[in-house]
Amino acid sequence: MGSDTFTQLVDANYAPLYRFALSLAKNQADAYDLTQQTFFIWARKGETLRDSSKAKSWLFTTLYREFLRGRRRDVRATALEDLPPDEADPPAPAVDVVSAMDAEVVMNALQEIDEVFRAPLTLFYLEELSYQEIAQALDIPVGTVMSRLSRGKSQLRAILAQRDKGARGNVIPFSAQRLRQTP
């Protein structure tokens, strides 16, 4: 692969890949290493991929596999499919509330979502892959992607609503403050 082509591939994908890695690994150092490792593997093996249009999917797939390889999957992660369905969608915080939040707050909320839902949901919000490509990247059926997106969004709404409530709870309404009188 030519140096220019590799540079173009990196420029087009390293930022979304890092965001995906950060949502999975939950810390910058590991996300950094995961992103770097993914391109390292591409440099060694990516040339075997004949269809260059699939490079993006290949990178996300590889990053996810490297993440899974890097840590032992715990019992909870494998058993989450058996959890009972959510009773009802929690109320979502208003869009302008989400827009007013720091990106870090939203990323932290994503990181709190159960891992099986977090991976497809982050890929969905990155908007780089379709639901079909997400299914291929995570090696799960298309229906499972849709189901996990639905469950993941429910969790995200609940967490963001909680954050919003917590943030507003710390603000003392102006009317409740006693005005200090000056002599």
Binding site: V95, Y125, V145
Partner: protein, 246 residues
């Protein structure tokens, strides 16, 4: 399709509209147009998804990541593919090329002018994001660590290195061009990062004992080799800080 099914499917519809041509969504989207209640839900869902996407897109990767990836990629691209994975005629051609390259490298090496491989290790060290490392520092590495931080030690003169022991002590290792490189952080006024590898993995010229100094993006490096090992020492403290302890 009832509204519940339509909601389930449309939950996977990206807010940037890239899925508009996907047949799976068509029926659900028609239903959105026909049912005002479903339409209102979909508008709220898309606005929420769009806001979350925008926040996710605002997360900035750490500085230096892009450069580290590009350098790592170039280094690893240099590693040859296994011959058995190539077509037979290509394998023959590759074999001839390898033999020619080995012969040429040996010739250059013999002439004492080749530093390509130690150069690779140096380039890696100059762009390695060592600020993100979590491995043990010199104070956890026993005699070698103490020696490195001893103000009287000259780093280029016989460091007591045992690579097997470093591995056992969980010293950070990196694969550069398929070869193992160890990194040790230590402090002597400035912070230093010493990269070590087997000399056979990163051959340099006959004159490689003479240190070569390089500077790049506020980092200074010096590379040298002895009979057993290849070394690259990096610091933010400038070339003078390297000379002080060399």
């Amino acid at each position: 399709m009832n509204n519940e099914q339509a909601r389930f499917i449309l939950g996977a519809y990206r807010p940037n509209g890239r899925d508009a041509g996907d047949a799976v969504f068509c029926e659900a989207l028609r239903q959105v147009k026909a049912d005002p209640g479903l339409g209102a839900w979909f508008a709220r869902e898309q606005a929420f998804d769009s806001a979350v996407s925008a926040k996710l897109g605002a997360v900035i990767p750490p500085p230096g990541l892009r450069e580290a990836i590009l350098t790592g990629g170039r280094v690893s691209t240099a590693a040859p593919r296994p011959l058995w994975r190539l077509a037979p005629w290509l394998a023959v051609a590759a074999s001839v090329a390898v033999i020619f390259t080995v012969a040429a490298t040996y010739w250059i090496w013999s002439a004492g002018s080749g530093r390509a491989d130690l150069g690779q290790m140096t380039r890696f060290a100059l762009t390695d994001p060592f600020s993100a490392h979590t491995g043990p520092h010199a104070d956890k590495l026993g005699a070698l660590g103490a020696w490195l931080e001893d103000p009287a030690s000259r780093i280029s003169s016989g460091a007591p290195v045992d690579l097997a022991q470093l591995k056992a002590q969980h010293c950070r290792t990196i694969s550069v061009a398929g070869h193992e490189v160890f990194e040790i952080c230590f402090q002597r006024g400035s912070w230093y990062h010493l990269y070590l590898a087997r000399r056979g993995d990163f051959p340099a010229g006959k004159n490689a004992g003479a240190p070569v100094f390089l500077e790049q993006a506020q980092r200074s490096a010096v590379a040298w080799a002895d009979e057993r090992l290849a070394y690259v020492l990096v610091t933010h403290g400038g070339t003078e800080a390297l000379r002080r302890i060399l």
